[in-house]
């Protein structure tokens, strides 16, 4: 049973969040182990399994981007997480800017090591960061918007192309996230423990 089927949903990306939550609570009341404590062990094990499946499904579907990542894995027949779904990839039109950013990063790291931080270099880096964050948001909007619609509305023959589109956009998004995290770290704005979290 895949995550869509757990909720009795078709394999489509347009999902009403409030309705999903309502259904999640309803199914939780049915399956949660708390309500099966007096049942025979076999039935308890089934409830545990059903509840675990429900929770995993809700987590995968409640967030629109996670939903797309799951769909790609599902369509490609990879139900486990082995091997990241996408390898980070630099967006081609940003290559030049990326060189500049890497340069600023090197400088910032060097100046962090030496005594004083150069406010000019920091301002440049902060500006570059803001542009990347905007680009990152665009990529997410594209994933949630037109790309998701292309999947939902497309005829089966076009779906392969939609999946390829998702993978491209997800790869760019992953790449941007990594660079933004690196800049945050160089700027000392990253709060400890947060960086690795975003990369999950």
């Amino acid at each position: 049973m895949d995550h869509f089927e757990v909720f009795g949903l078709p394999r489509r990306l347009a999902i009403d969040g409030a309705e999903l939550q309502r259904k999640f609570y309803e199914l939780s009341r049915r399956y949660h182990p708390d309500f099966h404590q007096a049942a025979p062990p076999e039935q308890q094990a089934q409830a545990l399994e059903a509840s675990a499946r429900l929770n995993a499904a809700y987590r995968a579907l409640r967030d629109p981007i996670a939903r797309i990542e799951y769909l790609v894995r599902l369509e490609e027949g990879r139900e486990t997480k082995e091997g990241a779904a996408v390898k980070p990839k630099a967006p081609p039109e940003l290559l030049e800017e990326m060189f500049e950013i890497q340069e600023s990063l090197q400088e910032a790291k060097a100046s962090n090591r030496s005594s004083g931080r150069d406010p000019g270099a920091r301002a440049t880096l902060a500006g570059q960061r803001d542009r990347l964050v905007a680009r990152y948001r665009d990529e997410e909007a594209r994933l949630r918007g037109p790309l998701s619609a292309a999947w939902d509305d497309g005829v089966p023959a076009e779906r392969g192309r939609a999946i390829a589109g998702f993978k491209d956009a997800l790869a760019v998004r992953a790449y941007l996230r990594t660079v933004i995290d690196d800049i945050d770290q160089a700027l000392g704005e990253a709060e400890e423990g947060h960086v690795s979290h975003r990369r999950h």
């Binding site: 609570y25 939780s28 009341r29 949660h32 182990p33 708390d34 309500f35 404590q37 007096a38 545990l48 399994e49 509840s51 675990a52 499946r53 929770n55 995993a56 809700y58 987590r59 139900e79 486990t80 997480k81 082995e82 709060e191 400890e192 423990g193 947060h194 690795s196 979290h197 990369r199 999950h200």
Partner: protein, 609 residues
């Protein structure tokens, strides 16, 4: 279904509660004397084991044999705790994975110490209900990892309790509030106890308590506030009296208890004074709330980052929080309240007693499990990401933190060498990218794989985190459909055989029976008084006349004789008589100390000018 009780196994105090069937409300169970809190302290002696208030009174007298704050050691390895060991007056040794506590020639593990506390609570409930109690919900900090949870479950088993659920403390508190006071909305539970800090963000809707995110620090609490005060006092004593008490365990315990008491008084008062009689001098010091705030500010502020991280994980801003609930004794500290108020921009709730609310919530969850409450459902999360170590020591996350539990993840494994029959896995918990920076949870060995060319076997491993937040692992070879044998080597924990043995041995640690215990207590009390009087006589000899000295000497002799008998009443009477005989001496000594303190303050002022 049999009765299930709720237990808050705290760093400083523990409680037991149940839901009253008539009113449907949770209630804590007091002991014979009406005390609700059982100090989580266990004291060992040749005569037997003391627990609770009786053990707490042994902290100063027998520091090496009296174990407190053992929760900070639960499920921990030596490297985790070695930094703070120098502050503990009892001896902690490295064991296999987990630490051990050495009491004389005996070694005991943290779960066994916790089991003594749990057993005492169990007996309290059995006396209350007049029937045996076999099942309990036991609470743990939400940020406890797998090993710490397992250790708590083991403690229950050693105490003869089937722990039917390990429940997170902040979530328990939300259940207690939820029964009567929380409306629908998003709630932040800020839980600062004696040794641990948790923040949990929940959505409450139609009877469902859904935890959205949790964060915390299992090594931050009121104990750390006390330690900051003690270090400051040690400095002050060094400056003013030229004495270094840092390596005197008895003095350190006196200071710790005095610091804790002063901290508590400063929640209500702006200033307070400490007076501690030592052998060579009596230490006297005034401390203001501003001074306390200065000492603990950094510690309090360090709780704010986990709060922000939990908010970020829940995808919320502080303004999205509808209600803030305070839990744990340390939230009585005004600075803590102020910081929480500032962070969330609204006044926190604290109508329910912060010491009791977790136990009350545990009782509610117990009632849900017993089928007595069907309209409430708690959906909790796993606090830490679960992953496996892959090539190059990188962690591949299988279950991200804040995933609703129970949950599972599947992973395929294969072999890398022709004919390989065994596959190893290393499971870790934590948020760092490298396995070595995470918490090692266990090493698993899949054996009995049929010999095949490399890469041919397809072994599906299912990682299931149950509703207790504890991991279970199963494996199947997909080609043969055969369940693969798994050998688990937990990094920090007791083996099944260890626990079995401890369940049997626990009877030898069983608390002395009531009569024997009362005699031990009476003798201990007498010992404490004798030590104090001897010291007072040395220090205050010049302050009283010959007659009084003789009266005191006679009372002291009588008490020593009574102490040697088995007659508890006689010892009590002699102790009371001793106290009466020294009332005046105590007064004049206190007077002298106050005068000396005033004089030194005047001297300070003169010097300042």
């Amino acid at each position: 279904m049999s009765r299930i009780v709720g237990i808050d196994l705290g760093t400083t105090n523990s409680l037991i509660a149940y839901v009253d069937e008539k009113s449907g409300l949770p209630r804590v169970i007091p002991d014979r004397d009406g005390n609700v809190l059982l100090p989580s302290v266990v004291s060992f002696s040749g005569d037997g084991v003391l627990v609770g208030a009786a053990a707490r009174r042994q902290l100063v007298r027998r520091p090496a044999a009296t174990v407190y704050s053992v929760k900070r050691l639960m499920g921990r390895g030596y490297d985790d705790v070695k930094e703070e060991l120098r502050y503990l007056p009892f001896k902690v040794l490295p064991g296999e994975g987990i630490v051990k506590i050495a009491i004389g020639s005996r070694e005991i593990t943290p779960p066994e110490v916790s089991a003594i506390v749990l057993r005492s609570l169990k007996e309290r409930a059995e006396a209350h209900f007049g029937e045996p109690i076999a099942k309990a919900v036991v609470t743990v900090p939400a940020y406890f990892n797998d090993g710490q949870r397992q250790a708590t479950k083991d403690a229950g088993r050693i105490a003869g309790l089937d722990v039917v659920r390990i429940l997170n403390e902040p979530t328990a508190a939300s259940l207690a509030y939820g029964l009567q006071r929380i409306h629908e909305g998003v709630v932040a539970v800020y839980d600062l106890g004696g040794g641990t800090f948790d923040i949990s963000i929940l959505r409450v809707k139609e009877g469902v308590f859904e935890v959205l995110a949790t964060n915390g620090n299992t090594h931050l609490g009121g104990d750390d506030f006390d330690r900051a005060i003690v270090l400051w006092l040690l400095d002050d004593i060094r400056t003013r009296h030229g004495a270094d008490l840092g390596s005197d365990p008895e003095a350190l315990q006196e200071l710790r208890l005095a610091a804790e008491a002063a901290k508590i008084r400063l929640s209500a008062d702006d200033r307070t004074t400490l007076t501690i009689p030592f052998d060579a001098f009596t230490y006297h010091r005034e401390i203001t709330r501003a001074e306390l705030d200065g000492l603990i500010e950094q510690l309090v502020d360090s709780t704010l980052l986990p709060c922000r991280m939990a908010l970020a994980d829940a995808g919320l801003a502080p303004a999205d929080i509808d209600e803030v609930v305070l839990v744990g004794g340390s939230t009585r500290v005004p600075l803590v309240r102020r910081r929480v108020h500032e962070l969330f921009g609204k006044a926190p709730h604290s109508q329910l007693n912060p010491d009791e609310v977790v136990a009350l919530g545990a009782a509610v969850q117990a009632r849900i499990l017993a089928g007595g409450i069907t309209n409430m459902l708690l959906l909790d999360v796993t606090p830490l990401s679960l992953g496996i170590e892959t090539l190059g020591g990188i962690v591949s996350v299988l279950i991200p933190r804040n995933t609703t539990i129970p949950t599972h993840a599947r992973e395929m494994f294969t072999t890398s060498v022709d004919g390989q029959r065994v596959v190893d896995m290393h499971v870790v918990q934590g948020e760092r990218e490298l396995a070595k920076d995470c918490r090692s949870l266990a090493r698993f060995e899949l054996s009995g794989v049929d010999p095949m060319p490399a890469g041919m076997p397809k072994i599906e491993v299912v990682f299931l985190i149950d509703a207790n937040g504890i991991l279970q692992v199963t494996a199947t070879e997909l080609r043969t459909g055969k369940a693969a044998a798994i050998e688990v080597r937990p990094a920090y924990g007791l083996s099944e055989a260890d626990v079995e043995r401890m369940v049997e041995e626990s009877f030898t640690y069983a608390e002395a029976d009531v009569e024997a215990r009362l005699l031990i207590e009476a003798r201990n009390e007498a010992d404490i008084v004798i030590t104090h009087v001897e010291r007072a006589l040395r220090q205050g000899e010049a302050l009283v006349g010959d007659d009084e000295r003789q009266t005191i000497g006679a009372a002291l002799e009588a008490l020593r004789r009574a102490r040697a008998t088995e007659d508890r009443e006689l010892i009590r009477e002699a102790t009371t008589a001793m106290n009466r005989a020294t009332e005046h001496l105590a007064e004049v000594m206190m007077d002298a100390a106050l005068k000396a303190a005033l004089a030194s303050r005047r001297a300070d002022r003169v010097l300042e000018k």
